[in-house]
């Protein structure tokens, strides 16, 4: 059903984990109980989801930050700009860290020259693109000034699959690499779950804050339906026992309005590393979602 034809508002989500079905099936029932016609489509990767959003096959995409960057570029190039209408409270002001072993002689970023740095999947904003761009800002060019060891787990999922980051952390703990990149929350997770021994690592540098996922809507989506959808998302209350388990699974306490300033670092990283071109075409090497 195309936008404006009176069918349900259709959302695309990437099935990076079986829980995605539980989450969106639950939200669908929650919306239905509030007389809001809603359906969802699952994708195996973000590139296809973004392309379908621009092609009008879905109205809303639950997008990774990288998928947002591409959707924005594709939309503007086509003269049909997309909008970010909502995000999780936990999507705002994240950081990534570049971590070394505690006893490493590397005391400052410049000393990574000639070192090997582990990153996540090629398309992970938090474990690859943003930290590599951050090191670039510090004057170190990936591949030229230091070697990159990439852990391509779940390529096409834009880093939603934690596997690449965990493998990078394991490589650091095992002494195979000199540094590893990961999102701040995963450094804490890896340190508590035992992938990294507590106290065995040191944060060498931390990126500036950036934002993560958002609900991206196409230019053609019915504005009234989008407004109703956004209003219902915002009304989801953590005190509601029906919706709380779904919020827990999705990793938020409340939905916030979308904001765009938090994507500037990733836009810059995408340009620096040549992941997409200005019109949203995939230009990254060795990227096959």
């Amino acid at each position: 059903m195309l936008p404006g034809e009176g069918g349900p508002l259709t959302l695309g989500a990437v099935a990076y984990d079986p829980k995605v079905v539980t989450i969106w099936d639950g939200f669908r029932r929650w919306f239905a109980a509030r007389d809001f016609a809603f359906d969802f489509v699952l994708y195996s990767n973000y590139e296809r989801q973004v392309e379908d959003l621009l092609a009008g096959r879905i109205h809303v995409a639950w997008n990774s930050p990288l998928a947002w960057v591409r959707a924005r570029r594709l939309g503007e190039a086509a003269g049909r700009p997309v909008r970010a209408v909502a995000m999780r409270d936990t999507d705002c002001d994240l950081t990534s860290v570049v971590v070394v072993r505690a006893e490493s002689p590397v005391a400052e970023v410049g000393q990574l020259r000639g070192a090997t740095v582990a990153v996540g999947a090629v398309d992970s904003p938090q474990a690859t693109l943003l930290p590599l761009a951050h090191l670039g800002d510090a004057g170190l060019v990936a591949g030229a000034d230091f070697k990159v060891r990439r852990f391509d787990v779940g390529v096409g999922l834009h880093g939603d699959h934690i596997g690449g980051e965990r493998e990078a952390a394991r490589a650091l703990a095992g002494g195979e690499v000199d540094a590893a990149c990961m999102i701040d929350g995963n450094h804490l997770l890896f340190s508590t779950e035992g992938t990294l021994a507590p106290g065995a690592t040191r944060v060498l540098t931390q990126t500036p804050p950036y934002d993560h996922c958002n609900m991206t809507v196409s230019a053609e989506a019915d504005p009234a339906a989008v407004e109703a959808f956004t209003g219902l998302l915002r009304s989801m209350d953590y005190a509601d026992p029906e919706v709380r388990p779904l919020l827990d699974l999705e990793g938020l306490k409340e939905w916030w309005p979308g904001r765009l300033e938090g994507y500037r670092p990733l836009e810059a990283a995408v340009d620096r590393l040549g992941f997409y071109d200005a019109s949203g075409r995939v230009t990254a090497a060795e990227y096959e979602p």
Binding site: T90, D93, H187, D237, P241, K253
Partner: protein, 389 residues
């Protein structure tokens, strides 16, 4: 005034969040807590921890969010913790929460728990009888001296036959409470606990009677079709109170006399020991069933007519069956005789006759305690299965 949490060198990778959580507990949203410490990852980890918990962060300060309080919105206590505080009807929404726990709203309701009313399941004696049951547990390997001389083959065969009969009865007595266990709301936990121990008791009885049967040989006795038919009517009873009445008050009640008979008249010490041990357990089961039924009848006197109907229904169902297998009856006589002289057999016969009279008297006494007039108690006792259980 801003609360300060001093973490020293404790990191969030080693439990620092507990101290911050403690400072934030019960505080309204917007409350500011300043976190100080020397762990090198404090700033990175505090930020990501707070974000996940729905708190704000400004530098080293955490600004309390409202998620924790919202999570407990609509939570309720699952009644009072003490047995005296059980509620009249336990809601399915409490699930398997401990009685008295603060239950977060949501989650799947208990499924398949249809015995959820105090009037249906409870007895005030349950906590006491459960405690007694636990204190009275015994280990067959220790409580019974299994070394004993071989009896005369004919007498031994009688003992084996009686043991074979007891095993099928105990297996039934195990299954009946086990079927109800999973249907009772865990709020009435002392009842569930008591029945769980009752099931364990029966499992042990099955073991010791089997072990006694095989003590000197390899073959068990016979199992009559009529006896098994009688036992299966017990398993078919779907209502807790009726099943408890038929099994514990009438069936196990009758078995008290039988086990006491075996304790006194069995020709060998092992049979006497296992009968004595099982008797103590069964007496507890009867006490529980009797207390449960007395509570039920007090709440609902019309239950008596349903108890009567259940007895009559079972009698009708068994009218065309043989009841106690003749092999079992004869074995009881030989066992009580202890030998094959005419004098011994006559004595054994008299003892079994006396046993049946005692069984009838015991049933009538328990029925009268449930409020049945003596004449009706006598009539109902007479309808009880000839298979004893």
């Amino acid at each position: 005034m801003v609360t300060v949490v001093e973490l020293d060198d404790l990191g969030f990778d080693r439990g620092a969040h507990l101290l911050v959580d403690r400072a934030l507990r019960g505080q309204p949203p917007g409350t500011v807590v300043e976190v100080r410490g020397s762990d090198r990852h404090l700033a990175v980890h505090l930020r990501s921890w707070a974000r996940r918990r729905g708190h704000g962060v400004a530098g080293a300060r955490v600004i309390a969010g409202g998620a924790e309080a919202r999570r407990w919105h609509g939570a309720e206590r699952a009644g009072g913790a003490r047995p005296g505080e059980v509620v009249e009807r336990a809601p399915a929404s409490w699930g398997v929460a401990a009685r008295g726990a603060l239950v977060e709203a949501g989650g799947p309701p208990l499924a398949g728990i249809d015995l959820d009313a105090k009037a249906e399941v409870w007895t005030d004696l349950a906590p006491k009888l459960y405690a007694q049951a636990l204190a009275s547990q015994w280990d067959p390997a220790v409580a019974v001296d299994w070394d004993e001389p071989h009896l005369h083959d004919d007498v031994e065969a009688a003992v084996v036959q009686v043991m074979t009969y007891l095993v099928e009865n105990e297996q039934t007595a195990l299954v009946v409470p086990a079927r109800f266990l999973g249907r009772i709301h865990p709020h009435y936990r002392e009842v569930v606990q008591f029945l769980a121990v009752q099931v364990a008791d029966e499992a042990r009885h099955v073991e010791v009677f089997t072990r006694r049967a095989l003590l000197h040989g390899e073959a068990l006795g016979v199992s009559g079709a009529g006896g098994r038919a009688s036992l299966q009517t017990l398993m078919a009873e779907a209502e807790l109170s009726l099943a408890s009445f038929l099994l514990s008050v009438l069936g196990e009640g009758t078995f008290l006399n039988l086990l006491s008979f075996l304790e006194h008249h069995a020709p060998d010490p092992v049979t006497r020991q296992v009968s004595r041990l099982a008797l103590a357990d069964e007496a507890r089961h009867v006490a529980f069933g009797q207390a449960h039924l007395e509570h039920r009848v007090a709440c609902d006197p019309s239950l008596r007519s349903r108890l009567r109907a259940a007895t009559e229904r079972r009698h009708a169902a068994l009218a065309r069956t043989a009841g106690l297998a003749p092999e079992v009856f004869d074995a009881l006589v030989v066992l009580a005789a202890g030998g094959w002289s005419t004098e011994a057999v006559g004595r054994g016969w008299d003892r079994v006759m006396a046993l049946q009279a005692e069984m009838d008297e015991g049933r009538q006494r328990r029925l009268v305690r449930l409020g049945f007039p003596p004449a009706e108690a006598a009539a109902l006792s007479g309808l009880h299965t000839r298979n004893f259980m």
